[in-house]
């Protein structure tokens, strides 16, 4: 009898699968990466305070909603349209739609007006996104609670294996914030330039923070149909989310590690031979 270790069975002569090297991710250009793409067909989840679909910055429909909160007998999921508790999600969604105007937006509301169970609710939001086949998730928030370190790590690995790209804002504070510290996510901080070119970002060869995108004095949508000028890593992450949505619109099926390589190639500090 031919006994093989479980994971080796995928590498027999009969089962091994051919892969395409198109696009050539380590030498791709902006044109090859996303020209002509509007993010159409790409499901983008904003896991945050709930998108206000009526804000002009959203430029189109919000394609799905879920609000998760703590109930008496566990978590409660409400898929009715909701409002933005703060303005934060609308700010992120506005940046994403400005870059990828035809992406499908899903509002996963995990930030409410209570502190109770925020870590658990946040995790449930990420799981909902994985279970509902989102392609990209914007996480302009995280948790610092060490209790969630292992389970959130497992969840982000699951997202990685399912080809769900998680874009996570790093915290400016000297305290580890999850999931931005994990290798399975794309971690983003603000770069120091005030130049408002949404496509100008940098790669950092010394992670955990891998990319620097615009996050200083960014004009963003807010509650009550307003606009504000805001600074924070929260606003850097959606720039990368929008770019990823456009790349996936042109090259569906790229894995998170291919996406990282494409981003690294497109970074403003990458030099071509």
């Amino acid at each position: 009898m031919n006994m093989q270790p479980a994971w080796s069975s995928q590498f027999t002569h009969e089962t091994i699968r051919r892969i395409s090297l198109d696009p050539p991710v380590d030498s791709i250009t902006w044109e090859d990466a996303c020209e002509g793409s509007t993010g159409k067909g790409v499901k983008v989840a904003v896991i945050d305070s709930g998108i206000d679909a009526t804000h002009p910055a959203i430029q189109g429909p919000v394609n799905g909603y879920v609000e998760i909160r703590a109930g008496d007998d566990g978590l409660v999921y409400n898929e009715e349209p909701h409002e933005d508790a703060y303005g934060h999600a609308t700010a992120c969604a506005g940046i994403i739609r400005a870059i990828a105007p035809e992406c499908e937006l899903y509002s996963i509301k995990v930030l409410g007006k209570a502190l109770v169970g925020t870590g658990t609710i946040f995790m449930a939001g990420v799981r909902w996104a994985i279970d509902h086949d989102m392609h990209v998730c914007n996480l302009s928030l995280g948790t610092t609670k060490k209790d969630f370190f292992a389970s959130l790590h497992e969840l982000t690995d699951l997202a990685y294996f399912r080809r769900v790209v998680l874009v996570s804002a790093a915290n400016n504070l000297p305290i580890p914030s999850f999931p931005s510290m994990y290798a399975s996510v794309i971690s983003v901080a603000s770069h120091q330039e005030k130049e408002q070119d949404p496509y100008r970002f940098y790669y950092n060869p010394e992670p955990p923070v891998e990319f620097g995108a615009p996050g200083i004095d960014v004009r963003v949508a807010w509650q009550n149909q307003q606009w504000i000028t805001a600074t924070g890593n929260s606003f850097a992450a959606p720039h990368i989310t929008g770019i990823v949505a456009r790349i996936l619109g042109k090259h569906p099926g790229l894995t998170p590690f291919q996406i990282k390589t494409v981003l690294r190639t497109l970074a403003a500090n990458a030099s071509r031979p």
């Binding site: 400016n172 914030s177 120091q192 600074t231 924070g232």
Partner: protein, 301 residues
């Protein structure tokens, strides 16, 4: 030996006997009541006295100094420190400095309200500029007291890995907005404030433990008493780890505590002497920008 010498010797002997009798009695009492009870009592007195003397520095005034220094270093017009009231689910003004600081202190900020509420819930720092364009931001409170900031910088306060509040600065001077460097510096001040709060809370916890130990001392169960004894030893070890500064402060605190137990006149005299001494020291060193006297007088020692 003349009569006077005999009387003196007798008086001395009586005094010695009386003293020895008292010592024996004290020792017997101490043995009867278990040795550590008295030690605990002394420690409690010491701790109580120290907390009275040191609390204004370790908590309220220290926090105010943190906010004031942060505002000065980062060049902000005003600043506030909020703590989360978990039961009420809102933010309480712990410190407010700058224009209208007294007026703003009366407000509580519900979570889910304004920039500070958002920072407290999300744990993400944030800065905004041109805030006056939307007076419904953090500034609904500010507008009600006729002070609407142009720019806001807010960072969360972490205690262990939990958000316990937010530190906020208003109106960057000399620039339209706060910079990312300002954000990082404010985060360092937030860490200092969180440590001050953590120390103060730990102090309260230790006092509660000690009180519980003393209250349950009458316990008849030998196992329970043994557990109390082990607790007392652990506490005693902890006390011995204090720094030289702590020990000095405790010594001073005990003296003040004793002085204030003699009566109102002695208390007034003690305050006056200390006040004069501290004023003298401040004048020599160029002075601080806060007053000790108001706080001491405001507390019921």
């Amino acid at each position: 030996m003349d009569q006077q010498s005999t009387l003196d010797a007798l008086a001395q002997a009586r005094e010695t006997l009386t003293r020895q009798a008292k010592e024996i009695e004290a020792l017997q009492q101490r043995l009867q009541r278990e040795q550590f009870a008295e030690e605990l009592q002394q420690l409690l007195t010491s701790l109580e006295a120290t907390s009275i003397i040191l609390a204004p520095f370790t908590h309220s005034q220290l926090l105010e100094m943190v906010v004031r220094t942060a505002a000065q270093v980062i060049a902000a017009q005003a600043g506030s420190l909020f703590l989360i009231d978990e039961e009420a689910q809102d933010l309480v003004f712990e410190v407010a400095i700058g224009p209208k600081s007294q007026a703003v202190k009366q407000f509580r900020v519900p979570l889910g309200h304004g920039i500070a509420g958002m920072v407290a819930v999300s744990g993400q720092p944030m800065a905004i500029s041109h805030a006056r364009e939307d007076q419904r931001l953090a500034v609904d409170i500010a507008s009600s007291i006729d002070y609407v900031p142009e720019s806001v910088l807010c960072v969360p306060l972490f205690y262990n890995d939990r958000v316990i509040g937010a530190l906020e600065l208003l109106d960057k001077m000399g620039a339209p907005s706060f910079s990312p460097t300002d954000m990082e510096i404010l985060a360092l001040f937030a860490k200092m404030a969180a440590i001050a709060i953590a120390q103060s809370r730990a102090y309260q916890d230790q006092r509660s433990v000690l009180n519980a130990l003393l209250r349950s001392f009458g316990e008849k169960d030998p196992d329970h008493r043994q557990r109390l004894y082990r607790g007392a030893i652990a506490f005693s070890n902890w006390m011995e780890k204090d720094t030289v500064a702590d020990t000095k402060a405790r010594k001073l605190a005990l003296l003040v505590h004793e002085l204030t137990s003699y009566g109102e006149n002695e208390y007034e005299m003690c305050v006056n002497i200390l006040q004069s001494f501290v004023t003298n020291l401040r004048n020599r060193q160029g002075g601080y920008d806060f007053s000790l006297s108001g706080t001491v007088q405001g507390r019921s020692i």
